[in-house]
């Protein structure tokens, strides 16, 4: 059965391609419509074939399709992975609009589910993107009982994680802040919970995510390395459903369903409380520390009529952790997306989206004489308009634009009690970013298709602002300020703008192999100022200004894609070269917190990165999974005007994200009828570090003498995780599922960082610090009813 269905897909695909080659001779009418899933969600990439004409189409992002047919009666067959196939008879006498709803196929198509649309990869024009849906994610081994989006991202080709205890990830030699991380269209500024062991995405309500790393559509902008577009599912339209999940340190509850036939909702809540486990530790530092988080999602969807749908997705989270007797850290994320989808006519759709993302961070110190509260926040308001036009044969046109307003409070220090600190508040950092784009996916011949796009973005830094003018010829520093230019509220301090051309082209070599090439330019006007390798709660986001120029990346990529005749295996190979401009690095010992002359502690330069990514997937059989291998390099060159503003003598040096070899193996083995074992193995070359060439005494203490930057490497990173998953058990109305995972099975002590230490009686030496040094077992249990 599975083999047959994949073969059928290929057949359909072949028809699709053939059909596009033909031209219409008789009077034709348009058949258009929307394909939806069980819960009413729009299905992208569903295959439709219409007999007797044997025409085929694939639905777009909105689940929309359209094709031209002569008068007559047809059978429309619709197929989507994981859904039961659907057949409907349609009589065409004029233009017609239909709606197709597919239902879950439950266990019938199990093997196919895992493949997560492998077939479309060779025929899609885009490249360098990976798609994972919820089913796939929940099979991956868990850490602390929770499948996690951000952790699974680093199992994809071209992605490496920033280290345990962080949720940052690096894509193709770019830094963690060069990834646009979205939740239902709303950008996130800190996607961490509990030191990165959890992320903001609740896996129970995840629909799917897609990571774009090259050939990025002109629809996306704002960051230069990648776009992680995560969608949560909407409430289902059939009946109320409830889901409860527990693991030793967390609990989850979600419910969704229809309120009326037009109105659905989804509500989810999650909390983690590792406190009682920490209390069990003998060490008083751990015992008296605490950490916790909770988050909640609320989604509404209201179908006004057949042409208008309004939906809302909201999210709120609060995190806190505390160390004994000194400092507490708290941060809150609040996101909201209000979306109005409108169908102008059968060929023309539009979506207006209003996005709000607010991130607030509070650090509180309670030591006597130093009591303080340090508050910082970032607020983003964004309006987006996206249109899709399908009226031109062989063209799929997307166009639109957006406008964003950023208001950042970089830091306000509020002393209290006996504190001898002065109250201090940095100026608000304000700016707006606007952009417009157009993207056309063109089917040129049955073998050749292209996606061509252009994006224009513009950024303005707004006052009130004091811009410092530094003396020429000496390193920028607050003692070298010669003038201060003051800008009043609302005035424009600095503007930047530029075009971002995007293009990708696909040429089918055979029915099951293709060559693709892509070029993209991306621009970024906001950066994370952080001197640590990962995103931490004390980091500051900063908009471009007179000194911090927008980051720009140019990328070219080439790829070969192959799917074996019967769909058992997929193979892909991509190579890329990237040039990065206006990259930020830091002076030795830079002061980043509450620093009004931040630019004087930053260094600017360029970077380049290149690499080759291979991926082999097995889609069917008892054993499924993939092997992905990446060879890549990433360099920075910081050659400032003075020696103090230069790193390594102005020569190229490996960036913090340079991990040449990255191997990921994911295997899913059907052990017994109801049990599956999955395993995930990761290997990466250690990241570059600044190493010491000798040790010395100073003031009676021993120090390491570091020289240069990033000239040596940490030990290699590798880890194996395994998971035993119980398939869903049905008992009456309830469905039970559970899994048992072990993270870091063979107890590898992977180095997070390297440091030099001295113990009495021994020569000073180099040591590595491992965040996790033991296997971490976890168990989780879910009930749906």
């Amino acid at each position: 059965m599975p083999r047959k269905s994949v073969a059928l897909f290929l057949l359909l695909l072949a028809f699709t391609i053939d059909v596009w080659g033909q031209s219409a001779a008789q009077k034709q009418y348009k058949l258009s419509g929307t394909v939806r899933g069980t819960w009413g969600e729009r299905l992208e990439g569903a295959f439709l074939v219409v007999t007797p004409s044997d025409k085929g189409v694939v639905t777009d992002k909105q689940g929309r399709f359209s094709l031209l047919l002569e008068k007559g009666t047809y059978t429309v067959s619709c197929q989507y992975i994981g859904m039961a196939p659907l057949r409907e008879t349609v009589t065409i006498e004029g233009d017609k609009e239909i709606e197709l709803t597919l239902t879950l196929s439950n266990f019938k198509l199990k093997e196919v589910e895992i493949t997560s649309r492998p077939v479309s990869d060779i025929n899609a024009t885009h490249m360098g993107s990976s798609f994972i849906d919820q089913k796939m994610l929940t099979r991956m081994p868990k850490l602390l009982g929770e499948a996690d989006v951000l952790r699974s991202v680093s199992a994809l080709p071209g992605v490496v994680n920033a280290g345990e205890g962080t949720s940052g990830f690096f894509v193709r030699g770019g830094s963690a802040d060069q990834n646009l991380v979205l939740m239902d269209d709303a950008p996130l500024f800190n996607a961490n919970h509990l030191f990165g062991f959890y992320s903001v995405y609740n896996p129970d309500i995840l629909k799917s995510y897609e990571l774009h790393r090259s050939g990025i559509s002109a629809r996306y902008g704002g960051r230069i390395s990648s776009i992680l577009d995560v969608s949560l599912r909407d409430g289902n339209e059939e009946k109320m459903r409830y889901e409860i999940g527990v693991s030793p340190i967390s609990g989850k509850f979600s419910m969704d369903g229809p309120i009326s036939d037009k109105f659905t909702f989804l509500l989810a809540f999650r909390g983690a409380f590792p406190g009682y486990i920490m209390k069990l530790f003998p060490n008083s530092n751990i015992k008296n520390s605490s950490g916790s988080f909770y988050d909640g999602n609320l989604k509404f969807k209201y179908k006004l009529d057949s042409k208008n749908t309004i939906s809302f997705s909201g999210y709120h989270s609060a995190d806190g952790f505390k160390f004994p007797n000194d400092t507490t850290y708290q941060w809150k994320n609040t996101l909201g997306t209000l979306k109005w989808s409108h169908l102008f006519n059968n060929n023309f759709t539009g979506i207006a989206t209003l996005v709000k993302s607010h991130y607030a961070n509070k650090v509180e110190g309670i030591s006597t004489g130093e009591e303080f509260e340090l508050n910082s926040e970032i607020d983003l308001t964004q309006l987006k308009l996206d249109f899709g036009y399908f009226g031109l044969e062989n063209h799929q046109l997307d166009f639109g634009g957006d406008a964003s307003l950023y208001v950042i409070q970089p830091g306000e220090l509020v002393p209290y009690g006996s504190s001898s600190l002065n109250r201090r508040r940095l100026e608000y950092d304000k700016g707006y970013e606007t952009s417009a784009y157009v993207n056309d996916e063109i089917t040129l011949t049955d073998k050749l298709s292209a996606s061509v796009g252009l994006r224009f973005s513009q950024f303005a830094k707004l006052g009130p602002s004091d811009m410092y003018v530094y003396a020429e010829g000496v390193p920028r520093s607050d003692v070298n300020i010669v003038d201060t230019l003051s800008y009043s509220a609302g005035s424009v301090v600095q503007t930047y703008s530029g075009l971002e051309p995007r293009a990708s082209i696909k040429y089918s070599l055979t029915n099951n192999s293709s060559l693709k090439a892509g070029y993209s330019r991306t621009r970024q006007y906001i950066q994370l100022i952080s001197n640590t390798a990962a995103i931490t709660p004390v980091d500051v986001w900063k908009l471009s200004n007179n000194y911090i120029k927008p980051q720009v990346a140019d990328q070219v990529a080439l790829g070969y894609f192959y799917t074996q005749e019967e769909g058992w295996y997929d193979f892909s190979w991509e190579v890329y070269y990237k040039k990065l401009y206006n990259q930020v690095d830091y002076k030795d010992g830079a002061t980043l917190l509450l620093n009004p002359t931040l630019e004087s502690d930053l260094l600017f330069g360029d970077g380049n990165a290149y690499g080759s990514e291979w991926m082999l997937k097995k889609n069917q059989g008892r054993l499924t999974g993939w092997v992905s291998l990446t060879y890549s390099r990433s360099f920075r060159t910081i050659a400032g005007k003075t020696e103090a503003e230069t790193i390594n003598g102005g020569k190229a040096y490996p960036s913090n994200y340079d991990k040449p070899i990255n191997l990921n193996i994911f295997a899913d083995y059907h052990l017994w009828p109801k049990w599956k074992v999955t395993a995930n193995f990761t290997y990466t070359t250690g990241r570059p570090v600044t190493a010491a060439d000798s040790w010395y005494w100073y003031q009676g203490q021993i120090f390491a003498n570091y020289s240069g930057r990033n000239q040596e490497r940490m030990p290699d990173y590798h880890r194996l995780d395994v998971s035993l998953n119980r398939e869903i058990i049905k008992r009456g109305k309830a469905e039970y599922s559970g899994s048992f995972s072990i993270y870091n099975l063979y107890a590898r002590k992977n180095a997070y960082s390297m440091l030099y230490q001295h113990y009495y009686g021994e020569a000073p030496g180099a040591y590595k610090l491992a965040v996790i040094g033991a296997p971490i077992p976890s168990i989780n249990f879910n009930v749906k009813f």
């Binding site: 280290g163 205890g165 962080t166 030191f195 920490m278 530092n285 751990i286 520390s289 950490g291 160390f323 004994p324 400092t327 110190g365 006597t368 004489g369 130093e370 001898s420 600190l421 001197n531 640590t532 990962a534 931490t536 004390v538 030795d588 010992g589 830079a590 917190l593 509450l594 913090n656 600044t690 190493a691 060439d693 000798s694 040790w695 010395y696 005494w697 100073y698 003031q699 203490q701 390491a704 003498n705 020289s707 000239q711 040596e712 940490m714 002590k749 997070y752 960082s753 390297m754 440091l755 009495y760 009686g761 020569a763 030496g765 180099a766 040591y767 610090l769 491992a770 996790i772 033991a774």
Partner: protein
């Protein structure tokens, strides 16, 4: 400030530290200069040593250098070698700096001449008062491998930060204290049998304590600064009987502040996600003949104010076990039985 508050995070994460191999081929030797010049004669010294490859546990000092400090105002002082790399102002030369003057350090080693950048001596800032607060801190006495959590006194200072200018401070200390040991409980190291000694149980020691800690007045400019924590002294050894502590408050330059700050940052870094990556600590010494040679260290010039306090065991309202040292107290480094004057 914040970085200092974060060393515990990795404990939460069951972190662990293991040795890794160092690439010895890249190891190099550099001259290390530790130079201090103040308006208090006894605080002035220069120490010369060489940095060593990792794997070498030995110290190497430079004993044959010609060390001089001179000023733009025509002062000139010769420092002569004592031992263990230390050079002190030569006998008879009253090496006392004057705030406002600009000083330079010259070190001639063989045919190489090392020089510091000129450094101005800043006006000292007076200490208003010294207070003590009972606290606990992890601490390792010299010779101990592991730090242990000990009760002790946090030494806190109050001072008025002058408004209108940037000020940078660091602190150093001399402590004179009495110890009581247990020579009668001596165990012979070879036989493992008790071998009581008759002498001596009462000794006096004097120690210099240096602190890397530096602060700026970025957040406290022009305010009366209260309870600035500058030192931790465990009760056990230092405060068992009586202690005379002198606190020196050094008014240092911005460059010096940055040097010590990065040095301290490195010392407290534990490699966690919150720590900045380690970096080269750039000093103010250079080789006149070869500017590319890396010279480690700093010539620190500071205007110093001081304050002396006496602490008696009886005044400490905290129960702690007496100092345990089952041997002749004279075995302790720098210990003497001679009662100091004015004790």
């Amino acid at each position: 400030m914040l970085r200092r508050l974060l060393p515990f995070i990795l404990l939460l994460l069951m972190g662990c530290i293991d040795p890794v191999d160092t690439d010895l081929e890249t190891q190099k030797k550099h001259l290390v200069v530790e130079g201090y010049f103040t308006n208090e004669a006894k605080l002035n010294y220069v120490r010369l040593s060489y940095s060593q490859p990792h794997s070498s546990p030995y110290n190497e000092f430079e004993a044959k250098a010609v060390v001089t400090v001179w000023s733009n105002e025509g002062e000139w002082y010769l420092f002569s070698y004592d031992k263990e790399g230390y050079y002190y102002p030569s006998a008879g030369s009253e090496a006392v700096g004057v705030p406002g003057h600009t000083y330079m350090l010259n070190v001639a080693v063989g045919n190489q001449l090392y020089q510091s950048e000129p450094v101005i001596m800043k006006e000292p800032i007076a200490i208003d008062s010294i207070q003590f607060e009972i606290g606990e801190q992890t601490f390792a006495f010299p010779g101990e491998r592991e730090k242990q959590l000990l009760p002790g006194y946090n030494v806190l200072v109050d001072y008025n930060d002058p408004a209108g200018e940037k000020n940078f401070l660091r602190w150093s200390f001399t402590t004179q204290y009495e110890v009581r040991t247990q020579p009668q409980d001596y165990i012979h190291p070879f036989t493992g049998m008790p071998a009581p000694k008759n002498c001596c149980m009462q000794c006096f020691l004097e120690e210099k304590l240096e602190q890397l800690k530096v602060i700026d007045d970025r957040l406290t400019n022009g305010k009366k600064v209260l309870h600035q924590n500058v030192l931790f002294m465990p009760f056990e050894k230092y405060l068992g009987v009586k202690n005379k502590l002198t606190v020196y408050q050094h008014s240092i330059t911005e460059d010096s502040y940055n040097f010590f700050r990065i040095l301290e940052q490195q010392k407290i870094a534990t490699g966690t996600v919150f720590d900045p990556p380690p970096a080269e600590v750039k000093g103010n010494m250079f080789n006149v003949n070869n500017e590319n040679e890396q010279v480690i260290g700093f010539f620190d010039v500071s205007g110093v104010s001081s304050k002396k306090v006496t602490i008696l065991r009886n005044a400490i309202d905290y129960p702690f076990a007496p100092f345990r040292f089952p041997d002749d107290c004279q075995v302790m480094r720098n210990a003497t039985k001679t009662i100091p004057e004015d004790w």
